[in-house]
């Protein structure tokens, strides 16, 4: 039998190599990954905001709870939360793309563009964090479907506005792509 003092160092070694693996992965991804703005815009456009609103609607959920058996309700709720999670995930991806554009713009030599870039990236960071928060909330619903859902109305409106914003991307995307290529680490 292996004693505790013998196990401990090997646990440290395993943790260290796990961390090293993540570091190497992030380093390689950061070199290879380029933000595909067109793809992000397309993903955003494909989000059906009304469908999402329905998925996170608390009255809809109450209706389902009253009219379905507990087992069926849990099953349906999991499916609905999973679909909503995919929406939130896509929105987060688009926020990351916006953050990259904002950061690239804020290094521009024109002070006006730089100032706008600062604000754009600030807002994109907030949106990203909100999308992460919403995703965690939806993940909780998937795992614990019997819990009363938290309403996520701001996110619904965020989606609508974001999709409108990103519709402008077509006119802008070629220039932005060039900018991102010149700025990605």
């Amino acid at each position: 039998m292996i004693s505790q003092p013998m196990i401990a160092p090997w646990i440290f070694v395993a943790v260290a190599f796990f961390a090293l693996g993540i570091v190497v992965y992030v380093a390689i991804r950061s070199r290879m990954h380029r933000v595909d703005l067109e793809k992000a815009a397309q993903a955003f456009r494909s989000l059906d905001i009304d469908a999402f609103r329905n998925l996170v609607d608390s009255t809809e959920e109450a209706f389902l709870r009253d009219n379905l058996s507990p087992k069926k309700f849990r099953e349906i709720k999991r499916q609905r939360a999973w679909a909503a999670l995919l929406y939130a995930w896509e929105a987060g991806g688009a926020a990351m793309a916006l953050a990259k554009i904002g950061q690239a713009a804020q290094r521009n030599s024109d002070p006006e563009i730089a100032a706008s870039g600062v604000q754009l990236s600030e807002n994109a960071f907030r949106l990203r964090l909100q999308s992460i928060g919403a995703s965690l909330c939806l993940l909780t619903e998937i795992l614990l479907p019997d819990l009363q859902s938290r309403t996520i109305p701001p996110l619904v409106d965020h989606y609508r506005r974001a999709s409108e914003t990103l519709l402008r991307l077509d006119r802008f995307s070629s220039g932005v792509r060039g900018l991102l290529r010149s700025k990605s680490a």
């Binding site: 554009i101 949106l127 990203r128 992460i132 900018l179």
Partner: protein, 252 residues
Amino acid sequence: MNWHKALLLFLWITPHVLLGVVAAVLYKRRLDREFPCFLAYVLCEIAGFIVLFTLYSIPGAGKQYAYAYSARLLLSIVLRFGVIDEVAKDLFCESQFLKVAAGRSLQCVTGLLLVMGVLLAVYAPGGNSARFTAGIFVVNRGAAMVQCGLLLALLLFSRFLGLSWRRPVFGIALGLAVLTSLDLATFALRAAFISEVARELLNLLITGTYLICVLIWIGYLLAPEFEPASLTVVPGDEVETWNKELKQFLRQ
């Protein structure tokens, strides 16, 4: 001189010579003003090497060597925390929101890692904790765990939030992350195993890792920074429009 000793000397001397190149590049590219702790760390490593190599060459100076080694190691630990702080400040400097939000998150991560490091030092002190040097190894193991965790948190934050790194900063963080993660593994083993063969193998691993890290630093410090975007690339009004849209968006 056998091949093992020759290899060990090569792996010991080369990184410290190359650290001189790192210091020169930092000075030439005026990065020393942005990263004073990193420059201090590099200079401390070089000075420490000179002292240790001198003591290593003097027969019968084993005890002095052990003390000098421990002092250099403890100083390195402190300076590495400074370097991580510099990296974090540079990464979040462009966003007031992130300075606050990420700063708080990092404080939580640091607190958690420190508690874990202390608990592990108490409950897993290593196989030969009575010895002074083994105690130092356990301290370094704990510090490496905290530092590696912090750098990992920074890398993951930047990835999740879409933060762009400047090349030199990314290089410094990457080199240090590789160094601390392997320090965690090697010092955990050194604190537990004292056989001569294990010690020699671990010495080779530590010095070899150090050489790789110094090469990472040189590579990223010498690599040219990306060209700034031209004025025509981003129309200001478009960015402003996006900004307004997003601002409304977040006021809900």
